[in-house]
């Protein structure tokens, strides 16, 4: 075999880290910690391997990679052997090849029919067997296990299993789900799910990492899609959460066959169940494929329209007709009632380019700043606090930094469910020694990996965090130098937290004083401590105060501005960061430039060549109130579903029904679309190209893999057509041109070029000048505030807006679940996800359930001051007694019927995480409408 010349030494590598040795007679050099196999790969020497997988710990068990080392009695496995200087290694000697062939022959003998894997094209075993000319094995076949086809997403055919253990490592070490194990001995040795349960009955979370790891197809996506040859594979990104996993779509006949994890900077080839198996919503027969116009005379009621009965309320229209009608209605209101009678809701699911054009349309075409999106419902309070205290709403450090942290607080977040791949990195870190401090009223999966789990009383975050800060101040653990040099207003914080001794706060939070003190010491004294939080922090009427406390905690201890430290509010939607960055919020233009700052206003008037409103617009919740009040009469809603996602959703539905004119642009007939006057069929994520910014401030490219169905059109085109009809003269040739304009509007992204995105797939901003590397860690030596100093904003403990009382004694909180995304509009139409979680459940402590005499799975009815719903009960000991949880994805029992629309005064975020309800056994279950 030809040996390639020595590759150039990578920059920064010192010469003494290389080990020179000989491989098949040629001189080669190993980098530090490189195994013989890795060196061989780099030099193009093919050594068979089966249990080895790039990036996984080498286990050295298949023994296919045996090589001969001069002077050693036995052969050595190349995959886990480090070369030493002067070693003479041969992979092609007769003895080595014989050993390699022996292993392949033994494994081949166990394959079904003793030949090529029937489950996967190009099984790795088949490829190596062919390469080494191993054919018809001499050995009899072992007893073959029966297939396990119980799972909707994956098939298990262990007759093709070679016991390489890659799936075990995938499950236990990469994703740390600890489901797959290796059981029994000898001939009976096999992988098992939990205690040898069928896959579907096990605790498997269907991340599919094992499928991706399996070399033979023993674990494969269900329905034999692995056997179909794709026409093309398109590198793109995941459409769901803010983790921003990169992936590859395998496509044939305009259909997505399967999805593979791609080695992105935020996911290292990992995916979760939604990213890997939740893609077929795009092929759902219920996709909107024709523009629709409401029939004249069909009144809008607050009920949800039956999607089977669309024709009774809507008629099909041509694009021309629909766009004209959509624009005419909006124009009419603008011209008669004034621009502020209009509003637009964009989407955090759309690309940066779509979000940018959408807000530009509202600002320059409608003439108002009434533009917002679901960020209002997720991290608006966090962002308000961050902007106030440290001058920037982005995360200070990326998720991957958790590996560098000695301590990480995860509060008000259930990452294994909501940010599953980010959670895998937290679990990896915990296994490697990072001490996790999980704080949440509800016990989650991550708590299993935590050094401390603080299950505090719901809504007492401020008290708990102030008590932690109290301890730090009292015990002299504050970073005085950092406080002196980089912050202001410390005296006020000190005075406030003095009131919050752990001893006094313990009964409020339910956490023992000594635990509060230990956690405070741990966080303050470690070299590097990090904080992650989710919507358990932000979605309260004092969400901004919650976030302020977390910021103060980091400032107080100087745990920010260095790798492995800092503040990371985990973003929800795949582009909630980007949508806000490019101005899809009512108070700022792109890059958080305040609309009420005259200089800023002038700058954007120049850029957009038009007059701009300098009054901040209405937020999501305020828009609904204005519709009720009759001051707001028309809306353009793109890819949002306020009829499901807003708090006290009955109120929101009434508001939508009151509008004179509503244009809805979506891929499905959502609950909101039922109130529309015009419905524009849009494109799904894989049907268009654009950039998306993840929770790590990484701008990443999603590429078009398939065409939109029927007459559905790409959203950029639709926005531009509407803009034209609103009197704007736009001519963007595509996302690339829009992105070029974003660079001019948002200085922190000015250095990112489309070419670089195409080449690298991902760039971290701030990246102001072309060629900059980007800044993964920010606030290194100053904060973007006056004087470069961060602000301590002391926050006093206050109660939720609606406390439980005798009439409504239970606390009700909402959130998501692993399988379903937000209002379920995509995931409930994805077959695998729907099969895994088909119906709504009320999560409740088993003792509370027993107290009213209902068995798990039985029916419960919940009632709040705003509405009532019925669903099945799911017992969960992770709940505190007296607290109930529901995901808000189900229209047949929409959790937001119950929630309170009281809002935080700063972030204007509603209190999704706390309201009072009462509970009774029984009730009438409703069918879902999808």
């Amino acid at each position: 075999m030809a040996i390639a010349p020595l590759p150039p030494r990578p920059a920064g590598e010192r010469p003494d880290t290389r080990t020179a040795f000989s491989l098949n007679g040629a001189d080669v050099a190993a980098r530090a910690d490189e195994t013989i196999l890795q060196v061989a790969d780099r030099y193009g020497v093919a050594i068979p391997r089966l249990c080895y997988k790039d990036g996984y710990r080498p286990d050295g068990n298949c023994r296919a990679c045996m090589v001969e080392i001069e002077g050693e009695r036995v052969l050595a496995p190349a995959c886990c052997r480090l070369p030493s200087a002067g070693m003479k290694v041969t992979s092609t000697s007769a003895r080595a090849v014989k050993a390699q062939q022996m292993v392949l022959e033994l494994l081949l003998s166990d394959m079904p029919e003793q030949s090529a894997s029937p489950y996967k094209r190009e099984s790795e075993l088949d490829r190596w067997a062919a390469a080494l000319d191993v054919r018809a094995p001499r050995f009899p076949q072992r007893h073959q296990p029966a297939p396990d086809l119980s799972h909707p997403a994956m098939s298990v055919n262990l007759d093709a299993c070679i016991q390489c253990g890659r799936c075990v490592r995938a499950c236990r070490e990469e994703q740390v789900n600890d489901v797959i194990g290796y059981a029994w001995r000898g001939e009976h040795a096999k992988i098992v799910f939990d205690l040898d349960d069928p896959m579907a009955a096990s605790t498997c979370v269907a991340c599919g990492e094992c499928v991706q790891a399996c070399p033979t197809g023993a674990l494969m996506p269900a329905n034999n899609v692995g056997l179909i040859v794709p026409e093309k594979s398109v590198d793109s990104a995941c459409p769901y959460c803010g983790v921003g996993c990169l992936l590859t779509y395998n496509v044939k006949d305009n259909q997505i066959l399967s999805v593979d994890g791609r080695d992105g900077p935020s996911n290292a080839s990992r995916l979760c169940v939604k990213g890997r198996f939740g893609f077929d919503y795009v092929h759902n027969p219920r996709r909107l494929t024709t523009p629709l116009i409401r029939r004249t005379g069909v009144a809008k009621t607050t009920g949800i329209l039956d999607p089977d009965d669309l024709a009774s309320a809507f008629r099909e229209a041509t694009w021309e007709e629909a766009l004209d009608a959509a624009a005419a209605g909006l124009r009419g209101i603008r011209d008669t009632r004034g621009p502020s009678a209009l509003a637009g809701f964009g989407s955090a699911k759309g690309s940066n380019e779509e979000a940018y054009l959408f807000q530009k349309l509202v600002r320059t075409g409608f003439g108002t700043n009434n533009v917002d999106h679901c960020t209002r419902l997720c991290h608006a309070s966090s962002v308000a606090a961050l902007l106030e205290d440290i001058g920037s709403g982005g995360v200070s450090n990326q998720v991957a930094d958790v590996a560098l942290a000695d301590v990480a607080i995860v509060i008000g977040s259930n990452p294994t469910v909501n940010h599953p791949v980010a959670a895998t990195f937290m679990k990896n870190a915990a296994k490697a020694g990072t001490k996790l401090i999980v704080m949440d009223p509800r016990r989650n999966e991550l708590a299993r990996h935590a050094a401390y789990f603080l299950q505090f009383r719901a809504d007492t975050d401020v008290a708990l965090l102030n008590a932690i800060m109290h301890t730090i101040v009292e015990e002299g653990l504050a970073d005085e130098a950092f406080i002196r040099e980089r912050t202001e207003n410390y005296a006020a914080l000190k005075m406030l937290v003095a009131e919050y001794s752990p001893e006094k706060i313990a009964p409020v939070t339910g956490i023992a004083a000594h635990t509060i003190r230990e956690v405070a010491r741990l966080y303050a004294t470690s070299e590097r401590s990090m904080i992650f939080w989710g919507m358990g922090v932000s979605q309260h009427v004092h969400g901004t105060d919650n976030a302020r406390c977390l910021i103060s905690l980091a400032l107080l201890t100087g745990q920010i501005g260095r790798p492995g430290t800092g503040l990371h509010p985990l973003r929800g939607q795949n582009n909630v960061q980007g949508a806000s960055d490019v101005g899809l919020i009512p108070m700022s233009f792109p890059d958080y430039a305040r609309v009420d700052d005259p200089d800023v206003n002038q700058r954007f008037e120049a850029l957009w060549e038009t007059k701009l409103d300098s009054k901040p617009g209405l937020t999501v919740t305020e828009v609904m109130d204005a519709a009720h009040a009759g001051t707001l009469r028309g809306m353009y809603v793109m890819g949002e579903n306020p009829a499901m996602s807003d708090p006290n959703v009955g109120h929101a539905r009434e508001a939508l029904a009151l509008l004179d004119h509503l244009v809805v642009q979506d891929i499905f007939f959502t609950e909101t679309a039922g109130y529309a006057d015009v419905i524009l069929p849009a494109s799904a994520f894989p049907e268009k190209t654009g950039t998306f910014t993840n929770t790590d401030r990484r701008v990443q490219l999603g590429r078009q893999a398939i065409d939109p169905p029927g007459q559905a059109r790409q959203d950029l085109w639709i926005i531009m057509e509407l803009a034209r009809r609103m009197g704007l003269d736009w001519n963007y040739a595509g996302p690339r041109e829009v992105f070029a304009e974003i660079r001019r509007a948002a200085p922190s992204m000015a250095g990112i070029t489309w070419e670089r995105l195409e080449a690298e797939g991902s760039c971290t901003y701030p990246l102001e000048h072309e060629g900059d590397p980007g800044e993964p860690v920010i606030f290194v030596d100053s904060f973007p505030r006056p004087g470069g100093r961060a602000l301590f904003a002391p926050a006093a403990f206050s109660d939720a807006a609606e406390l439980p009382d005798e009439r409504y004694p239970f606390i009700f909180t909402t959130g998501r679940q692993l399988e379903h995304w937000h209002t379920g509009s995509m995931t409930r139409r994805a077959s695998v996800l729907d099969a895994l979680e088909p119906e709504p459940t009320i999560v409740i402590h088993p003792d509370d359930l027993a107290a009213i005499g209902v068995a798990p799975g039985g029916t419960l009815t919940l009632e709040s001051r705003r509405g009532t719903l019925t669903a099945s009960a799911r017992a969960d000991r992770g709940m505190q007694r007296g607290t109930l949880f529901m995901a808000f994805a189900y229209n047949e029992a929409a959790a937001n019927i119950l929630t309170n629309d009281a809002i935080d005064p700063f972030g204007k975020i509603p209190e999704f995480k706390f309201c009072a309800v009462r509970l009774r056994a029984g009730g009438e279950l409703v069918e879902s409408r999808l």
Binding site: D59, N61, V74, A99, M102, V103, S109, F139, Q163
Partner: protein, 403 residues
């Protein structure tokens, strides 16, 4: 009772009069070699522990499951205090404050006896805090296994002790560097450690002078098979095999002649009558192409069906393979099936040839020595008693096949 015979006196002496290094030097000087199977010099093994300030562990291996071996079982039940004293002396010598003993799951009675003995030792102040007022703390944890031969392999044992699946670890790193809970660890056999009090009492010289220079001292040999008096016999190494069979175990049953001797447990190759005058020590046995192993001698007379004997042993290894390595898991299983096929009269002549060639090809490819234990006995008896194997083949014509 044990104390009346001078028990724990050496432990006390070690703590009060000797430094850990003195004890280690005595062990090194005695040239004691491990009695667990590999025969590695114990003093040298101890010297591999790095001085990195980490906690160190000593683990006594009492998993004894090697076919034919039953010496540790006896020691456990009959002289538990000698084992405890040996463990404590060893722990003192290597600077370990927490020692473990891993007892085979099936040793139910031995486990109870041993645990009671440890409690007695603790009550007497030999286990626990501040031993003999020296400030040296030493804990001893007794762990019972769950019945897997592979847990006797030292790294499989450490995994099992940590509560993980009992499967061997990749080496390097060796346990001395990264063992129990990732810390430097010594694993020693029961018998090895039980010799320590004696060596301390009588001096390194006393032990080193017994038997051949490079494998000195006494050894408990478990003799079984076709002999009149099977049992454990403690003899000086270097005693001949003939002496062991006839002088110790009472010789063969009347009227029988010897066909073979497996000298060192299931993993050792069979020796034959021409080897009877070999001195029984590590060096001589390995020079003859077999090994002394754990010191388990199985004697076969002329009634032996070696096809069945080989099958029984191969079935054991195939069954006990932890299942990691392809050659061990698949190969063992394949050989077992082939032997079944031969025994059932469905074998081919080529099968007999392949027993030798394939078992040889499996060897040296595995992660731990279990996989390499499949070949020696099988190959040695197929070669010697080929006719017995061929007699099972009903294939019409012997068609020699080269493999």
């Amino acid at each position: 009772m044990y104390r009346e015979q001078g028990g724990y006196a050496q432990l006390e002496r070690a703590f009060k009069e000797l430094t850990p290094k003195d004890v280690a030097d005595i062990c090194m000087g005695s040239n004691l070699r491990g009695r667990g199977g590999a025969g590695f010099p114990t003093g040298r093994k101890w010297s591999f522990l790095p001085n990195n300030g980490h906690p160190r562990y000593l683990v006594c291996n009492c998993d004894e499951a090697e076919p034919g071996t039953f010496k540790d079982h006896m020691l456990l039940e009959q002289t538990p205090h000698a084992i405890i004293e040996g463990i404590l002396i060893g722990a003192y010598a290597v600077g370990c404050h927490h020692a473990f003993i891993y007892i085979r799951g099936e040793f139910k009675a031995g486990f109870a006896i041993f645990r009671a003995a440890v409690e007695a030792a603790r009550a007497a102040g030999y286990v626990g805090k501040n031993l003999f007022g020296t400030g040296f703390d030493l804990e001893l944890t007794v762990h019972r296994g769950a019945g897997a031969y592979i847990c006797g392999e030292e790294t499989g044992l450490l995994n099992s002790l940590e509560g993980k699946r009992g499967e061997p670890r990749l080496k390097p790193p060796f346990p001395a560097v990264k063992g129990l809970y990732g810390e430097p660890t010594v694993v020693n056999n029961v018998e090895t450690l039980a010799y320590l009090p004696h060596i301390l009492r009588n001096g390194a010289e006393w032990f080193a002078k017994v038997g051949p220079e490079r494998s000195p001292g006494y050894k408990v040999v478990s003799i079984s098979g076709h002999v009149k008096n099977p049992g454990n016999y403690e003899v000086p190494l270097g005693t001949t095999i003939r002496q062991l069979i006839w002088d110790c175990a009472g010789g063969l049953r009347d009227g029988r002649t010897l066909l073979g001797v497996q000298p060192g447990g299931g993993s050792s190759a069979c020796l034959f009558e021409e080897h009877l005058d070999l001195p029984y020590d590590f060096e001589s046995i390995s020079k003859a192409g077999s090994m002394l192993g754990s010191g388990a001698m199985v004697v076969f007379d002329d009634t032996t069906n070696f096809v069945k004997a080989a099958h029984a042993l191969i079935r054991f290894y195939a069954h006990e393979s932890c299942g990691q390595c392809t050659p061990c898991r698949e190969g063992g299983n394949w050989l077992e099936k082939t032997l079944v096929r031969i025994l059932e009269g469905r074998g081919l002549h080529s099968d007999v040839d392949m027993l030798v060639s394939a078992s040889h090809q499996l060897t040296g490819l595995n992660l731990c020595p279990l996989g390499d234990s499949i070949e020696p006995f099988l190959a040695s008896v197929v070669k010697r008693f080929e006719a017995q194997f061929r007699a099972y083949i009903r294939e019409p014509k012997a068609a020699p096949v080269a493999v």
